[in-house]
């Protein structure tokens, strides 16, 4: 019934709609997209570099490069959990591919992440770091695509479940906070004791953060992590779409 062109049009309009709603009443507008993670990084820097005195060179740069992809993950998943509910008035009246709602949420947060690349480059410049690696040409789209699929799959799960159990969004936000400390964002993976390392492998964001850090700071694509992350992304999409398909027919009757 819907063509690819329709899907594209709907996604574009949904993204435009969310941007408008998000920034309509704010004075600083898009600055918030990078402002929040920057403030967050600043606080973490003070706590971990100045107070706890973590032994990591260039800690500011190290943090920034981990926090922006993390923010994409955390914001997109939290916002996905509420996207179907906040669009209830549309879902109840019009039959359309509802999975485009979490998809557009994830894409909006990806745009925010892409804007943050500028900030990352500014930080590389301030730190007299190498400013461009050729591997970025394929590394950026490749890792972005994997992270996009990973988040979209989880987004489908949390958005569908939250319609039936409103507790889902609370659980999601607690899980995200927990996962933040269990992902090597504020500390490097090699600081993690050997005994804990296997558990870190179970966290799909470990590989993603490692991938971004190596790409931005050293210009490498860590192919092994890429493979592992791609498997996680595929599983996430598979699980997410299976659950979504099972539940979507009942969305309108319980919203």
């Amino acid at each position: 019934m819907y063509s690819v062109k329709n899907y594209l049009d709907i996604t574009i309009v949904l993204i435009a709609k969310d941007f408008k709603i998000k920034y309509k009443n704010t004075k600083l507008g898009y600055v918030w997209a990078v402002g929040y993670p920057l403030v967050f990084a600043g606080i973490l820097y003070i706590a971990f570099k100045n107070i706890i005195r973590i032994k990591v060179d260039n800690y500011g740069l190290f943090l920034i490069v981990g926090i922006f992809p993390w923010q994409w993950f955390a914001n997109a998943i939290y916002l996905s959990s509420i996207t179907l509910i906040s669009n209830a008035s549309i879902i109840k009246k019009i039959m359309f591919p509802k999975s485009l709602l979490p998809l557009s949420t994830v894409l909006i947060e990806m745009v925010h992440f892409a804007i943050s690349w500028i900030v990352i480059i500014v930080f590389l410049f301030i730190n007299d770091h190498h400013l461009f690696y050729f591997s970025w040409v394929y590394g950026l789209p490749l890792i972005s695509a994997i992270q996009l699929v990973l988040i979209f799959g989880i987004g489908l799960v949390v958005s569908s479940l939250n319609i039936f159990f409103r507790d889902t969004e609370r659980i999601v936000s607690i899980m995200i906070t927990m996962l933040f400390y269990l992902t090597p964002v504020i500390y490097p993976l090699n600081m993690v004791p050997e005994a804990f390392k296997p558990y870190f492998l179970l966290n799909p964001m470990t590989g993603i953060v490692e991938l971004w850090r190596a790409l931005f700071l050293e210009g490498f694509v860590l192919w092994r992590w890429l493979g592992i992350s791609a498997v996680y992304a595929a599983l996430s999409l598979l699980g997410g779409s299976m659950l979504y398909r099972r539940l979507k027919g009942r969305f309108a009757e319980v919203l």
């Binding site: 019934m1 549309i90 019009i94």
Partner: protein, 268 residues
Amino acid sequence: MMKPLIEFNGVGKSFPLYHSLHASFKSFLLGLPKSLKKFRSERFVALEDISFRVNAGETLGLIGKNGSGKSTTLGLIAGVLEPSIGRVIVRERVSPLLELGGGFHPDLTGRENILLKGVLLGLPRKFVSGKSDEILDFAELPSFADQPIRTYSSGMLARLGFSIITQLQPKLLLIDEVLAVGDVRFKEKCYGVIEGFKKKGVTMLLVSHSPYEIRRLCDRAIWIDSHRIKDDGPVGRVLEGYLKAMQQGSPNLHKPERIATKAPSHKQ
């Protein structure tokens, strides 16, 4: 011979009851097998064994008391609801439910809502933006085009809703009591549009509590009573039966929980 545009074959629809659904996650998990059973058993039956066909070009009125299942029927045709049993076949582009205040995003402007609704209905973005001035003109809202929808009155919303759907060249139109608001003049304008569609062969389903509207606009009517089809046929006959039953007062109205809202006139 052309296949009917809409077909309902033995359709039933039930909804989970509110309290059983919104039990907390904790209590749900703790008594999982029990809650699942409860979830399945405590359901409200909105439609039972509904079968009818609508041919292309027909204008059909749905009548019946509040809560008899008319809106659920439209929801099934629009595809936002799925039948619990039976089959619903609709051989036409998705059509929106035209309902009071529905399907708008309060923070978006009139123009933005037009675009959103248009593309969600499966129309190309460019086509919809090209049409938006026409839509606003018909709704008599050009000066409110760039105001957020939440500032609109209910009459304005109904006008906007009606003109979005009608200006986007539908082949199938589902109208749920939307003509009840709006002033007499706009109502007359809407009747004009519907009569124009009728000439063009647009298929329409109309839910209305106004016998005048049904008689004026429809060729055929279906009377739904207590979730089942009571009568299906020419407008005159169906409407007459329905009005007669309403005057006598159906026994359902005297259930204790309904007396609070319906009974004062009987008691005095």
